[in-house]
Symmetry: D2
Subunit: 142 residues, 4 copies
């Protein structure tokens, strides 16, 4: 199996369907082993105290797994988040990007499970981990 959409195609596709996403996220790498997605931290991602907000980190994990799924199944695939679990491990400083490294643990016909570890740019101690499960509706891959 090989990717149906590579990094450039995925970047263009996300820009088309999620225009706001372009301002928040950058795909640093995308291949069959997984994805490296960057949250380009800005003031709108912070919460009081100057740390990156939980919803911003949820969004980073979610878009990372979504992009991995579409990179395999193609842009016409439907994929809906059905569950997530996250652990927040360390305080994410507000003056540094966050790098998500994601991999797919399972790409089934109806369920896809992806794992994401998030690090500060340039650092190696994880800030958070997330598992996102997506459902692929039956007969909806055109």
């Amino acid at each position: 199996m090989s990717l149906t959409m590579n990094k450039l195609e995925m970047t263009a596709y996300l820009a088309e369907i999620f225009p706001q996403v372009c301002q928040d996220f950058n795909i640093d790498a995308l291949d069959m082993d997984g994805i490296t997605m960057r949250l380009m931290v800005a003031a709108r991602h912070l919460r009081p105290g100057g740390t990156v907000s939980g919803p911003s980190m949820f969004a980073l994990a979610d878009v990372s797994v979504y992009a991995m799924i579409l990179s395999r199944l193609g842009p016409k695939a439907l994929a809906v988040t059905t569950s997530s679990s996250m652990d927040f491990l360390r305080k994410p400083e507000g003056d540094n990007d966050i790098i998500a490294r994601g991999q797919l643990l399972k790409l089934g016909r109806s369920l896809v499970v992806g794992d994401v570890l998030m690090f500060p740019a340039g650092g190696d101690k994880p800030l958070a981990r997330a598992t996102m499960t997506y459902s692929i509706p039956p007969n909806k891959i055109a």
Copy 2:
């Protein structure tokens, strides 16, 4: 035990520390049994397809539990999200508010666990459920 901050005090407090929150959330009810928090759905909460985004629902669950904790411990308490689990059950329509009903399952000295069910305004089939765990740093309650 009774509440340290009631609904009006909590609304004022959130407005002070999270100014942007006032535009998104409204506390419909707050007492010792729990909280009813409303996400006032607007275009910025939607994702392609017109449904309410996952990060918006995460934020709703998170602020619901945060407000319950501070309503008990007072505005000087520190409380940090350490983990979350969410299940997305039904598609949240983008033209309707979302009502979160939260309760605290445990209010320990160092860990607090809150449960949240989210419903469409006026509906009784849950859209999502979430459990949020907060850590209360030791000796940090002034």
Copy 3:
């Protein structure tokens, strides 16, 4: 919609397919609102220190949701656990049964999500909460 299998039928069915289950669990109540399942705590459920073990509580939550699903879909349905989240809230004393109260949050065609709160028999402070997700394989309901 009404139940396909009632409490007595479900008890007999579980005894047939999970003979060991009869020694561990008792269905105290089962109806369209949900289930009340009892873990009849014995020495084999304890861990050092005399508290009920995590795997025993996982099993209690899992069988509670499984029985709710089969009570709706009938004994020929296939249902496979795909994910779980649990929070352990208080220490479960080893000399008391544990009562699980479960409800189905969603009974979809391919995914079922059930929520379970566990209490000490005769007590009202929850010991643990769990959410279990089951997958119903397509075209496998005979």
Copy 4:
């Protein structure tokens, strides 16, 4: 930082406090990078259909993280499971051991988070993933 208890010391310690564990689990490797723990699959771990049961896999993940914590903090440390999330990815065949590979994502003063991937012995497609969070009670490390 180095390990306080190595593989042999940990094996002996688990045998002392969890005598039943010796029959179920074997520590294949234990160092600062993490643990490799084997579930020696036997009839008592199976559920109808001949696959390894969910509670058995929960126990494997739980003991893996517990052993990693004690290998760092020493045998007198108290550590209590406070939450878990698991995803079941593929059917675990009942005639093959299961190998858990665990690492600690965070070893804080009061919270420890460990991640575990479980594989069939000799296989490289994950059967399940788990995250276990432990609480270390304050002032209880003798």
